[in-house]
């Protein structure tokens, strides 16, 4: 779909209202607009008509009031690191870039709570917390904005122990489509006072309103952190180890799978000497006694599945090197396949189906004649396939598209979901009817109730 601009008259009217107020913080510049559409995937970028940079909730509210009055689409923008076209502007409209709303508002150290504006980046938050003994664990890899992470229900490597944004956002301030400002949730650990609106806005991908503040759950830094790697003869043995460890309740903080290709890529890119075989990257958090016991439990399970080489890293430097390699895997794999474009997709299944789902997906990759690497947050039953595509070949591109569709269908058929953490955006709208059936009508009803004019991030989540 090509991006469609908002009618000239409407846009003129909107400029007339926003330009005087925002001055240089309102831009029609083509370069600025191009920087604010999807850039991280194969989805075609669809630039907004203008970009505005508010600095307060009240400014966001006034922008939305104007857009609502003129029926102009609004696309919220955090850091642009989403993967499924969430920040594209298929119907044109105004991109609301929240990067200037980047203040930590308040810390409650005794409750392990913090309130932040949506433009605060997760690295910045952990930097802010560095002398408090606290940290925010959700780590989707990219240094995303916390508002964007909430909007896409992000998770990542630490979710197996700490949950996702769903579990760690206690409340939000939201500007609704008509500019009204509301606050959801409380700082109590639990509540049974009415509908859980916080959980409704988390994961709504900007289609219900713009998150302008978030209250987050923090955690005490563990006394002991031990990381390690552990290689296996096959992906299946690695998955069986993960499944049994999860079923037995072994207290893992991170458990990530890299297939042989990914390990080879990491070795070359990050100058490591790991055994080039399917490998689990692990991390354990707790007291020294607890991590020691947990590691012993894990080792005994892994041994039953013929685990080979295991290496442990306790110093912060060794651990950092290991996880840097894991986070650089994406670039490392790209470097292994020069001339291709990497396209990533994810799915999440019940843990008992993980080995089957990865195995069938891998056979499908080979039958489709595609180049790919498998990598993922397997402790949650969540994995990614990184396809390396020759974008000049329409046939190969089409085969990749078909594969992604089948991978989603496979995960749904196994009782899982077409996306564990990347979201729907534009890329997976076609999966929504299959995954949700008649409850999709329920989602549309909620959307219409909260955004009756349909200006909030149109063309995402739901087919128009």
């Amino acid at each position: 779909m090509l991006a469609v601009s908002v009618e000239h008259d409407k846009l003129q009217a909107l400029c007339g209202r926003l330009q005087p107020r925002f001055g240089p913080r309102f831009s029609l510049n083509q370069t600025v607009r191009n920087q604010h559409c999807q850039t991280t995937t194969w989805l075609k970028g669809q630039a907004p008509d203008a970009v505005v940079f508010p600095e307060s909730t009240e400014e966001v509210s006034s922008i939305l009031q104007q857009c609502h009055a003129l029926r102009v689409p609004v696309i919220p923008f955090g850091n642009g690191s989403s993967l499924e076209g969430q920040v594209n502007a298929p119907f044109g409209g105004i991109c609301v870039d929240l990067s200037r709303m980047d203040q930590v508002q308040r810390l409650w150290p005794d409750d392990l709570h913090v309130a932040v504006q949506p433009g605060v980046m997760r690295h910045s938050l952990n930097q802010y917390l560095r002398n408090t003994g606290l940290f925010f664990p959700i780590d989707p890899g990219a240094d995303a904005s916390l508002g964007g992470m909430a909007a896409t229900r992000a998770s990542g490597t630490n979710a197996v122990r700490y949950g996702t944004m769903r579990e760690n956002v206690l409340g939000v301030e939201v500007v609704l489509a008509d500019g009204k400002i509301i606050r959801t949730g409380t700082r109590a650990r639990k509540s049974s006072a009415g509908y859980d609106l916080t959980k409704l806005f988390v994961g709504s991908e900007g289609t219900l309103g713009i998150i302008t503040e978030l209250t987050l759950q923090l955690y005490g830094l563990p006394q002991s952190i031990v990381s390690g790697v552990c290689s296996f003869r096959g992906i299946n043995e690695a998955c069986q180890t993960v499944m049994l460890a999860r079923q037995l309740g072994v207290d893992l903080a991170r458990i990530e799978l890299l297939d042989e290709t990914s390990v080879r890529a990491c070795n070359r890119y990050s100058h490591l000497t790991m055994t080039e075989a399917p490998t689990l990257f692990l991390e354990f958090h707790g007291t020294p006694e607890h991590t020691a016991h947990t590691i012993a439990d894990f080792v005994s399970i892994a041994a039953d599945f013929g685990a080979g080489d295991m290496r442990w890293a306790e110093s912060e430097q060794e651990r950092a090197a290991l996880w840097k390699a894991r986070h650089d895997a994406w670039w490392a794999i790209h470097a292994l396949f020069p001339g291709t474009k990497g396209v990533t997709t994810d799915a999440c299944v019940p843990i008992s189906r993980l080995a089957d789902c990865i195995d069938e997906s891998w056979q499908d990759i080979q039958a489709s004649g595609l180049s790919a690497a498998v990598i993922g947050h397997v402790g949650d039953g969540n994995f990614h396939v990184l396809l390396l595509i020759d974008m000049d070949s329409p046939a190969e591109t089409e085969r990749a598209h078909q594969f992604i569709g089948r991978m989603s269908e496979r995960a749904i058929a196994m009782g899982g979901t077409c996306t564990g953490e990347h979201g729907i955006g534009q890329g997976k709208m076609a999966c929504m009817p299959l995954e949700h059936g008649d409850s999709l009508a329920c989602m549309r009803a909620v959307k219409s109730a909260l955004d009756p004019t349909g200006i909030m991030n149109p063309g995402k989540l739901f087919d128009a």
Copy 2:
């Protein structure tokens, strides 16, 4: 408010449609109707016009289609153990008693998941699981139905380690107001595929639809369970201990506070010999090494706050006796104040405000000249006040009402909620505007979107 019957003509029409289908499972009997309104609180019982006992999702759907067509109110009923008037019928209508939908539908032992019908009681589920090594931890005290527990977002003594119904319902089948059947959620541990409808239905108190199936998260029975009691000079010292233990991340499974009155009542009622002072009831789950370490951590914190008598129970029999005494506390306290009616209320605050909130509430109780006991799930910042009221004294009843209102306001002002686990029902509707502000309009919009004719449990959550 008196219960208002549905107009005679409408009721006749509905009987004409439901009686032929349900036969003896459709009742207009006054005794049956009286058994299906609020019986556990001081809220006046408001009987429905009829009670129907469906045995399948399709039957629930057909009931709702008829009620929707005739605009007759529908009140879902699990076991009637809710505390805030959730099952009253202020506008008359049909009570849908789900107790015959009491089958465990499917167990996935490798995923620690189970699907149940809404009428399955939590004790029955754990009985069903007894040879599997698994259990469902949520324990609100009463042997409630799992559908009712989901609808009211119940929690209880184990929530500090295992979360509430919010965290442990993976998906639901729901019959909407118009009879449409939808399914929400998946069995994957996480998903970012659209709005989280599961979390919307959990806690909606039957105002959005009727839950006809739930998929629940189970847990492996811990290798080691150790329970204990620990007394303190004052409530404040007990609360300080809880706060510090929570802040330091001590892995508690249960941590319950009983004030001096409650302990005295338990001693008399359950023939125990506990020190009659504010007391924490504790439980630790894990491997034997883990519970031993955790207990040591806890003891060292408690000692700093002058903890006195500590007693530990490892055998299943000792533990059962201890928790039976805790669960019988309600009756024990009643027995201590003959001639009064017990009215319970709850609130939940951020953990740092727990001591203040209990302390101020206690002063308020004394200033109001009321008899009461304080008891609660303090690990979550959640506590209950059990007021012992002479219902023949309008003045005392009014003072109790006023106290409950102030307790809600106090909790909200401290960043908490007017109810951690009892829900809103009819009893706390007046607190909703204060707690939610403008987001209450958002809840109403969602309600209207999913139940446009307003037949689902009217007169609950929202003032009419």
